[in-house]
């Protein structure tokens, strides 16, 4: 399909990008890797007057350490995230989940920041960053602010970004020593997850000391399976994990769509949570 007409600008810096966004009021869209925005434009589901292409702002790319925190530039592609030794060492869950994103062509174009800013609850990475207790740094006309992942995802395709703000960094507390697993359930490789479960497990003396469970596509935002997490604390052995996983869908409102019913998603969330937590417990 053919997008509706729009203006286009390619700022060279974050400040310039923010100025362009601010000048456009509510009518601008940020283009990063284009893997979500371009289909929306082509299907005429989005009609921005201005597209702000941030793809040539080098400062937004790359991974660095900041003490106990891993800092990933919003424009870092999935491919670069996957290859990055710091990510592999300190945020293995993110690497594991990124490996399941679409296909190599998409992973070479699509960016971590773009995926988060798009705030699609069916996307894999929002639930992962939520489970990692990540923080998102956004730049606006009045400087930068930091938003916790739990506050960032507001509703379906809606983030806490103001129209004049740009996501610049993703800050992830290091999870060295945690077991992790991303269990993605999808029918073909390129399809969205019907349900995905991101699990992080810290063990102590064989038991689960602490577990975090992020849920993909179980509501209008990515969610944490809070009840299951509580029940997992102190869980010892597969049966205890299975009992805790039964609580995984509590408080969720899974969608009805062409690929699954809410009832089935609820069932899947339980099964996949059990599997993800067990896998995270075994793997490190």
């Amino acid at each position: 399909m053919i997008p509706a007409a729009f203006e286009y600008t390619r700022p060279e810096s974050v400040d310039e990008a923010v100025r362009a966004l601010a000048a456009a009021g509510d009518e601008a869209k940020v283009l990063a890797g284009g893997q979500s925005l371009l289909p929306l434009l082509r299907l005429r589901l989005a009609f921005p007057e201005l597209v702000v292409d941030v793809g040539r702002i080098p400062a937004l790319r790359g991974v660095r350490e900041d003490g106990g925190t891993l800092v990933i530039g919003a424009l870092t592609t999935h491919h670069d995230v996957l290859r990055d030794p710091l990510v592999r060492r300190h945020a293995g869950l993110l690497a594991a989940a990124t490996q399941t994103v679409a296909d190599p062509a998409v992973r070479h174009r699509g960016t971590l920041g773009g995926s988060l800013a798009h705030a699609d609850p069916a996307g894999d990475l929002p639930a992962v960053v939520l489970a990692l207790d990540g923080e998102l740094v956004v730049a606006g006309p009045n400087g930068r602010r930091t938003v916790a992942a739990g506050d960032f995802f507001v509703d379906y395709l809606q983030s806490a970004l103001a129209p004049d703000e740009l996501l610049v960094e993703v800050r992830l507390p290091k999870t060295d020593g945690w077991g992790f697993h991303y269990e993605k359930f999808h029918r073909v490789a390129q399809a969205y997850a019907i349900v995905g479960v991101a699990a992080l497990v810290r063990r102590d003396d064989g038991r689960i000391a602490e577990a975090r469970v992020g849920l993909t596509n179980m509501g209008s935002t990515p969610l944490r399976a809070v009840a299951a997490e509580r029940a997992l604390a102190g869980a010892d052995g597969p049966d205890a994990v299975a009992r805790a996983a039964e609580l995984a869908a509590e408080g969720t409102r899974p969608p009805q769509d062409v690929s699954a019913s809410p009832e089935y998603r609820t069932h899947l969330a339980r099964v996949l949570t059990r599997r993800a937590v067990l896998a995270a417990t075994e793997a490190r």
């Binding site: 399909m1 053919i2 509706a4 007409a5 082509r42 299907l43 296909d103 359930f185 029918r187 073909v188 490789a189 390129q190 399809a191 969205y192 019907i194 769509d257 062409v258 690929s259 699954a260 019913s261 089935y264 069932h267 899947l268 099964v271 996949l272």
Partner: protein, 793 residues
Amino acid sequence: MTDQAVAREVGRSRLRKEDARLITGQTNWTDNIQVTGLLQLAVLRSPMAHARIGRVDVSPALDRPGVVAAFSGADLADGLGSLPCAWPVTEDIVLPGHPPIAVDEVRHAGDPVAVVVARDRYLAADALEAIEVDYEPLPPVLDLEAALADDAPLVHADKGTNRSYVWPLATGESFAAVRERAEVTVKRRYHQQRLIPNAMEPRAVVVTPLAASGEYTVYSATQIPHILRIMLATVTGVPEHKLRVIAPDVGGGFGSKLQVYGEEAIALAVARRLGRPVKWTESRSEGYLATHHGRGMIQDVEVAATREGRLLGLKVDLIADMGAYLMLVTPGIPILGAFMYPGIYKMDAYEFTCTGVFTTRTPTDAYRGAGRPEATFAIERIMDELAAELGLDPVELRRRNWIRHEEFPYTTIAGLTYDSGDYEAATDKALALFGYDGLRAEQRERNARGDTVRLGIGVSTFTEMCGLAPSRVLRDLRYGAGGWEAASIRMLPTGKVEVVTGTSPHGQGHETCWSQIAADVLGVPFEDVEVVHGDTRSAPQGMDTYGSRSLAVGGEAVHRAATRVVDKARKVAAHLLEASEQDLDFTDGVFSVKGSPEARRTIQEIAFETFSSHDLPDGMEPTINAEYLVDPENFSYPHGTHLCAVEVDTETGMARIRSYVCVDDVGRVVNPMIVEGQVHGGLAQGIAQALYEEAVYDDEGNLVSGTMTDYLVPSAVDLPDFVTDRTETPAASNALGVKGVGEAGTIASTPAVVNAVVDALRPFGVLDVRMPCTPERIWQAVRSAAAGKEAAA
């Protein structure tokens, strides 16, 4: 004459000579074509499944930048007749008119209502949004059975019914009689979901007018340039001899480009009206609404058998979804299948009825296999159900009923004469490759253990009819044309060869295979042969490409035309070598005199001698070029045995193919690599129907699976490694011994996969899972079977 037909090329896995340009895209895809002053056409489509059209106001679009013209259906109605249906399957068929652009009423979401012509496609797309249309909603017609009720809302109100036709066939004893004496009967209902063909290249058309002489060239991404030319002449009134149709390189079709589409006629009418060249290119999501769909049937199937597992009879009742209109061969698709429901089995009675029904959905028509996959699915699925009912191994049940190799040629209960085959050989080979007994043992072990991941094994011993088609049979089936194919061979003065074919490749590799065939007969190098196709001016005669016909009919024509060239060249050679024709040998392209091998002429030298014509036999026409039109004596009948092992996770419902083995018998093989490629692609499409793809409509008649996000086409990573092998039983109905392979994989694989899924779940009491076997459907099947068992206990 002691010609040695040395097969140097046939049987060899030649790399495809067309691939360099196809893969790099450095070629004339229709959308690549640029001509001076080209305008872009865009089509406004109905957002509703069914509505009366009130006012259509295109004038606001005319005010948009770059817009040259805009037309409603009424504006163009004068120059556009109804789109054709070439296969009115019964005398009393209800055949409604099909305006290329709707005038009074839209009957499916995507039905065209207006067009814009602009300087480029962006401007055209923008201007579409300015057109104002008033729709008065009418009730959608979606349920096939409800549509047949007396008080059902009508798709075509003036016809008074949604029933297009009822087509019966009954052969052998009466089914009621064999049912009476049968010890076992099994009856099932199967659903063939609608599928969207998804050719890699979307449809596109370019029309260039030559106003001064009233001539038009139509470039179209079509499978059927020759048929299209005739039909466009009829629809638009442009005389046939003033129309040239070119199918440039075409990126796939799977039957979806075996069609005469409204956009082709509209583009011609608009170019004629404006006197300027126009182009229309479909977007993918537009194609999902506007390019015909495949399948779409309810099948009620019943078999009657003895306790020992001998089939006595088969009864099939179909309700087939025509969609909103009858397009080129819409009503004939289920009828092509009618003859295949008995499959490879012997029986005493066969009854078949198909009822064609109109609905407010995109029309259905040919899609890879076209009627035969549906038939094969039904018989192969119910054979497994019968085996379960009898407590027999499904392979053993098939052995007890199939035609044995020594029984060929064999006339089936449906009246077809299968010329050759060896089901025993293909099955034995497949079972060994698959490790059938070992997998059965593992299955028993897992079932005994109550494993949450169950193993299922599915078999499909398929055959199909292809090589379409003997013209007299087509007449008997009320098809509007013949089934012959043409080839001509031009020997160029320098010894190079042009093979002109009436087949129209869209990815199959005809250029390579036809070169291999011609090179062998003529004894010239493969590289010296060029294949010309797809242009009604350079390849004026043809019936085009569909139904796995190209090799068995078109390839055979190439073979025979080349043989004629050799016969003519022999006369020239005999004259030049001062020998009698009987004293000449012809080997590897060289004529030589028996006993004096130094007296020789190559056929390429003869080509030049004929061109100069200085020294030809008295009275001889100065050419060794030749043509041949083949009208096949019979269909061809590829067959094979496909085996699929599926692991089903009963907790999530996910079915994963663990191994897939197929042994196909497609007769003599011209290019093994191309055959392998066709089998792989065919398997992917058949597996896609079993597990992934479905055109889903909501209650309003909107296509919900309207993009590739929701219509799941599997890619290579979603499919297992295929183990493919062959047996080779030559076809008896053509000199090449070939059968055709374009559809075999698709026809065979769907039931193999679903049989495997159901086999895995049989211990739970599951008798069927509706296609596509999605994880949710499998999960629900296990749950409801378990609930049923509990209720019974």
